[in-house]
Each structure stands twice: as structure tokens, then as C-alpha cells.
């Protein structure tokens, strides 16, 4: 066991999977000698060589497209896109190609590829370095979308993603890359894709979240009355969604708040609200509440915290929903 940050846990998972399988290859901008702009791949090129940890030309479509080709021909490719805002140029390759190959070939061509992408705001970064586009990709059939909120889960989920036979979009919440440490086993282990985690058990209200917002929700609970018992669910995987865990919880509590950084409209909160309404209708005691980013762009950093649904806004929604 070692006490690791999220960055270190991801680095450990990459190291162990590369040790275990010579066909695991990392490619991206600055991932080699520089160790990635967040140092997630630090030391890997020195250890595994520049044929397996590859600094590519500056071209996201090129990175994604060739990672697909690598995956088609026996390489478990792990492309890194430097920031979520730069997924734009790679969108066509990811959505129109990686996601579709298995289905359009009826299983003849598959893409065992793990796309690593830092995501989210809260670190005073420039424009297009702070967005939360996970719903776009959850809405894309054929992609699995993962976003851990803890070092332990990050390691286990990344190993699952690398071993998965289908393309996985692995979002890394950059706000909590180094926010806290956690005991992470040295041995390899997996956390299953598609399984949520109940962070806190409770009886009165269910809060569903993922990624860096998990920490905001934990902080929000500190300011709530002690007799309000909150069940906090960290989805960990956004697609496929762990519907059963959400439904079971809301049937128990009768109330539900969903919190995410991304904008409100057509965000995952809408999907989860719809599921709860469909599956828990007769158990609901209050309208499902969504605490999210606004339907605007993430502002530049002077007003970043006005945009982000920080813990006071989460607490306000939980209180209102519980009081209804």
C-alpha cells in the first residue's frame, strides 16, 4: 500500500499494465520526456522507451485516428488528449469511427483503446482547459465513459479500461489530480466499469455525482443539519450507467439531487432525473433537483467559481429538496 494522489495512481496503473503487456502503447502530445503537462506519464518513456511512450506531432485527430489504427492491429493504444477542450479536432475520429467500428462490422473490427483526457474546471486554467463535455460522449453510442474521483478507483478503473475490448473514454478530473492522497494497493486490481460507489450511506436523500464534484458534495454535507441523512453516490462510470444503484437508493430515500459541473440543459442530470422519474415515481417525495453549471461557457478564471456548482450551491439544493 502506498499513499498516492490521483496522478500517481494513474501513473502506477499505466506502469503495471505496460509491464504486463508489451502491446500497451501510450501516444500523445508531450507525454514522453516531459511526462505530460500534468506529469501523469512521468518516467514512463524512460522506462519503456520511445516506441511505447510516443511524443506525437501536434494533431488530436491524428492521435485519435492512428490510435484507432493501432488498436485494430494488435496494439492496446492509450492516446492522451491534453485537455478536454482539445477533443474537438479528434471528435470525428472518436465518435464517427472508434465508437462505430464494432457495430458497423458486426464484431469483425474492434477498438480496444483507452482515451485519457483531463477534464473539468477549478484550476484557474485558460479557455478550453476547464470544460466538462462528458454528456456529449455518454450520448454517443459505442463509447464507455469513465470518470474516477479517488486514487483507488482511478487505478482500478484504468486497468479495467485498458483491458476492455472496446473504446473507453477515461476522464481525469484535473481539479483533484493532487487534491488528496489515499491508500492504493501496490498489486494490480480492477474496479469494474459500470458500477457506482456509495460513498456515504443515508436514509433521507440521495445525491448523485461524479468526478471532482464528489468532493464538493462531501464538503456540502458538512454544512447540513446533523439529523439529515444523505446517501452520496459517486457514479465512477457515466456510461454504462449503474441504474440499479441509483434506483435502489432513491426508492429508499424518496428524494434525489444530481450535481455536475457541466451545463444544465441536456446534461447527465437530465438523464438521471428522467430515470428516477420513470423508475421511482411512486417513491418520490420531492422533485429531483439538479445542481449544475449554467447554460453558458465556463467563464475565464476571474468568474470561474461563480459558474461552478460549489458546495454551498449543492447544500442549498439538498436543503430545499429535503424540506419539500
Amino acid at each position: 500500500m502506498a499513499n498516492l494522489t490521483l496522478v500517481q495512481a494513474i501513473n502506477l496503473a499505466l506502469t503495471q499494465e505496460m509491464e504486463a503487456d508489451d502491446n500497451v502503447v501510450i501516444l500523445g502530445e508531450d507525454v514522453g520526456l516531459n511526462g505530460g503537462v500534468f506529469r501523469v506519464t512521468e518516467g514512463l518513456q524512460q522506462r519503456f522507451g520511445d516506441n511505447r511512450v510516443v511524443d506525437t506531432p501536434l494533431a488530436e485527430s491524428g492521435i485519435m485516428g492512428t490510435a484507432i489504427g493501432l488498436a485494430m492491429n494488435g496494439i492496446k493504444s492509450i492516446p492522451e488528449i491534453q485537455f478536454e477542450g482539445f477533443l474537438g479536432p479528434a471528435y470525428d475520429q472518436l465518435v464517427n469511427h472508434a465508437a462505430r467500428y464494432r457495430s458497423r462490422t458486426r464484431g469483425a473490427v474492434t477498438i480496444p483503446m483507452t482515451v485519457r483526457v483531463p477534464i473539468g474546471g477549478g484550476i484557474h486554467a485558460p479557455e478550453l482547459h476547464s470544460d466538462s463535455p462528458e454528456a456529449v460522449y455518454a450520448h454517443t453510442p459505442g463509447l464507455k465513459v469513465v470518470m474516477p474521483s479517488s486514487p483507488y478507483d482511478a487505478k482500478g478503473l484504468l486497468i479495467s479500461a485498458i483491458r476492455d475490448p472496446d473504446p473507453v473514454l477515461f476522464f481525469e478530473p484535473k481539479r483533484i489530480y493532487r487534491a488528496y492522497r489515499e491508500e492504493v494497493p501496490e498489486d494490480e486490481y480492477t474496479v469494474p466499469i459500470g458500477k457506482a460507489k456509495i460513498v456515504e450511506e443515508g436514509a433521507d436523500i440521495t445525491v448523485v455525482t461524479w468526478g471532482a464534484m464528489t468532493i464538493q458534495c462531501i464538503n456540502a454535507m458538512d454544512s447540513l443539519p446533523e439529523n439529515l441523512s444523505v446517501e452520496l453516490i459517486d457514479l465512477r462510470t457515466i456510461y454504462p450507467l449503474d441504474v440499479d444503484t441509483i434506483v435502489e437508493s432513491v426508492k429508499k430515500t424518496g428524494r434525489c439531487v444530481v450535481a455536475h459541473e457541466a451545463p444544465l440543459t441536456a446534461g447527465l442530470g437530465a438523464e438521471i432525473s428522467a430515470l428516477v422519474q420513470e423508475r421511482c415515481f411512486l417513491h418520490l417525495e420531492a422533485p429531483v433537483q439538479r445542481v449544475t453549471g449554467f447554460d453558458t461557457f465556463m467563464p475565464y478564471y476571474k468568474m470561474e467559481l461563480d459558474y461552478l456548482p460549489e458546495s454551498p450551491r449543492v447544500a442549498e439544493a439538498i436543503t430545499a429538496c429535503a424540506a419539500y
Binding site: 511524443d55 477542450g85 479536432p89 484557474h124 444544465l264 417525495e285 447554460d295 467563464p299 419539500y324
Partner: protein, 372 residues
């Protein structure tokens, strides 16, 4: 059947002012006047100081991530070749040209202070704000030039990008469109040898970046990017060609003397020896040497300039720092010409959860019989 040559090309490299400040008088004919060279030297020096102060502001927490421009100030020359009505479509390492084309320098600081008002280009300027994603904005320049042609307006679009940008597909599409549409566009590839940690030789297997333009039928040049004369001459000729439907790609050989941004540490991947060699090619040093050789500059003038530039930079920093705080309502009101009702509701309540958002729900008490 004999094999014929289908196409043959050479890439010229032009240097007019060398590292020692020695001028090729023949090539320099009809380029910059003495007054212009003095002005450019003073301007580049001011830009250097502003760049250093911006770095310090970042380190003291008064500025966000900042990409230093240090070493690439000679690009300012383009602004002298541009006419007032011409467009500047930049990335973020040609500030010196933008200021000289009329952009108030505090705009750039404001941008990096995390304030969108830094992107509010004054109405009388044809300029886009800095483009943050790499290599996507050159297509906008192609469109802008194309529009000028369609509308019969006498304008040229200048666009600037780094060596790394040429790996993005959009670069190739921009060159191709400008060529096919015979649009008045001048592409400046500022080859500073590094795209964050990726050196030039890993970016392309080609000998030059300039030759990439040949594939799209553009005129191409390679110039010394730290040479204000060569940049001016190439830009001036490119304007004339652009107005005759012939876009140009100019590769400027320069060097990024600083880190990629303040979030980067180039010592991790760059040899000190390479950096030290590049410092000898600094555009400021050679321009000053040239001015001194012509008795157009002296230690006294240098001292006076330093004082003037300190004052100028202090004023710029003060204008950026003393601006009133932005309003959170701006986040919403800037989205559309007319704010949709649901967005206005988010603005007015600063919340997205529905309870408490609507006046009729104020009691937070469910109507009788609503519970299951």
C-alpha cells in the same frame, strides 16, 4: 517514354540583418527607414519588458497562466507592412505585432488575468482575439480574406501560428482554401523550434515548414524570424501578391527563449546549450548593434528608453489591474443577442435547481395531496 519532371521547387531563405547587426544593404533597399528601425527597437524593448513583468505578475499570483513571447518580438515588423484596414488573426506569440497594429496591450494582460474583456477588440481594429486551441484559427483568416475578395474590399488577412500548428489538419485546409479561393491571406508560421516539449524535428519529417505551402499552390518564403528587415520585406511582398489573388506562406525561423507557458518548465526537455546559442540570435541585440553601427543609438538613448518603457509598462499593468471587476451577469448576457428566458432565470437566481427558482414555489411546501 522519358520520365519528365512534373514539379520542381526551391525554398529561399532570406536574412537581411544578421546576428552581428550587419545589414545586407542591397536586400534592405526600400524596406525600413531609420526612424522605423528606431521605433521598432523601442517597441520590441517595451514588449520584452512587458513580457518580463507579466511573468512576474504570474509568479506573484496576479496573472493566470501566461505564454511568454520573449525572443519573437521581431514579428512586430509585420504591422509596418500591414495597412490599417488589414486583419490580424493571431495565436498568442505575436503580441508585438498586435500592439503595433493598434491593440491596447492591457487587453492581452486582461485575457491572461482570466477576464473576457481582454478579447473585446476595439471597433476600429480588424483583429481577432488570441486563439487558444492550436492551429484552428487560420481557417478563419482564409474566410476573412475570401470575404474581402467577395465584397471587393481592399484587405489582407495576416494569420500567425507556430510550427506545431502545421501538424493539425486545419492548417492544411486553410492553405488549400486560401489557394483555391485565391484569397488575400498571408500565413506566418513562427517556427520557434518547440511545441511545448516537442522539438521541430519530431513535428515534421520535412526539411522546412515553408514547403508545406507548395502543395497548396501558395507562394512560400523562409526568412530569419529575428530579423525585422527580412520579415518586413517578405510581408510587404506578400501583401502585393495577396491582393493579386496569390496567398503566401512565410516561415520565420525564430526561437522560444522562454517556457511554453508559466505552467511549463523547458529545462525538463531542452538543452541549455541550445538555449544559450539562441540567445545570441536575439532580435533585440542585433537591432541595437545595427542602430549603434549607424550612430542612431547610444547608451544615453538606451537609458532614456528603459525609463520610458518602465513607465509605459507600469501604465499598461495599471490599466489591466485597475479595471472594475466583471459582473457575473455578463456570463449570461454575453451568450446571445437576446437572452433566452430559461437562461435569464439562471442569471437572475444564480441557481439551476428548480426549488426556490419560481416565485409560486416559494413556500417549499408541497400542495396538499401531492405526496404519494
Amino acid at each position: 517514354m522519358p520520365i519528365k519532371v512534373a514539379y520542381k521547387a526551391t525554398i529561399e531563405h532570406m536574412q537581411i540583418l544578421d546576428e552581428q547587426g550587419v545589414l545586407d544593404a542591397k536586400l534592405a533597399r526600400d524596406t525600413l527607414t531609420d526612424d522605423q528601425v528606431v521605433m521598432l527597437y523601442e517597441h520590441m524593448s517595451m514588449c520584452r519588458r512587458l513580457d518580463e513583468i507579466a511573468f512576474k505578475l504570474q509568479r506573484s499570483g496576479r496573472l493566470g497562466t501566461y505564454p511568454q513571447n520573449m525572443g519573437q518580438e521581431a514579428i512586430a515588423s509585420v504591422a509596418l507592412a500591414a495597412r490599417k484596414q488589414d486583419w490580424m488573426v493571431p495565436c498568442y506569440r505575436e503580441n508585438a505585432a498586435l500592439y503595433l497594429h493598434g491593440l491596447p496591450p492591457e487587453k492581452i494582460l486582461l485575457h491572461w488575468m482570466g477576464d473576457e474583456r481582454g478579447n473585446q477588440i476595439p471597433d476600429d481594429l480588424n483583429m481577432l482575439p488570441m486563439s487558444i486551441p492550436i492551429g484552428t484559427h487560420m481557417l478563419h483568416a482564409a474566410g476573412i480574406g475570401w470575404a474581402a475578395k467577395l465584397r471587393g474590399i481592399d484587405q489582407v488577412a495576416f494569420t500567425f501560428f507556430g510550427d506545431g500548428s502545421t501538424s493539425e489538419g486545419d492548417f492544411h485546409e486553410a492553405c488549400n482554401f486560401a489557394g483555391v479561393m485565391e484569397a488575400p491571406v498571408v500565413f506566418f508560421c513562427q517556427n520557434n523550434n518547440w511545441a511545448i516539449s516537442t522539438p521541430r524535428h519530431k513535428q515534421t519529417h520535412a526539411e522546412t515548414f515553408a514547403q508545406k505551402g507548395l502543395a497548396y499552390g501558395l507562394k512560400v518564403r523562409q526568412v530569419d524570424g529575428n530579423d525585422i528587415f527580412a520579415i518586413y520585406k517578405a510581408a510587404k511582398e506578400a501583401v502585393a501578391d495577396a491582393l493579386h489573388g496569390k496567398p503566401t506562406l512565410i516561415e520565420t525561423l525564430t526561437y522560444r527563449l522562454g517556457d511554453h507557458t508559466t505552467a511549463d518548465d523547458a529545462r525538463r526537455y531542452r538543452d541549455d546549450a541550445e538555449l544559450e546559442a539562441a540567445k545570441k540570435r536575439d532580435p533585440l541585440i542585433r537591432t541595437r548593434k545595427y542602430l549603434e553601427s549607424k550612430d542612431l543609438w547610444s547608451a544615453e538613448l538606451e537609458d532614456a528608453m528603459i525609463e520610458t518603457n518602465k513607465k509605459k509598462v507600469d501604465d499598461i499593468v495599471a490599466r489591466a489591474t485597475n479595471i472594475e471587476p466583471p459582473k457575473t451577469t455578463d456570463i449570461f448576457d454575453a451568450m446571445f443577442a437576446t437572452t433566452p428566458p430559461e437562461l435569464a432565470r439562471q442569471r437572475d437566481t444564480m441557481q439551476t435547481h428548480s426549488l426556490g427558482m419560481f416565485p409560486q414555489q416559494e413556500t417549499l411546501q408541497a400542495p396538499q395531496g401531492a405526496h404519494a
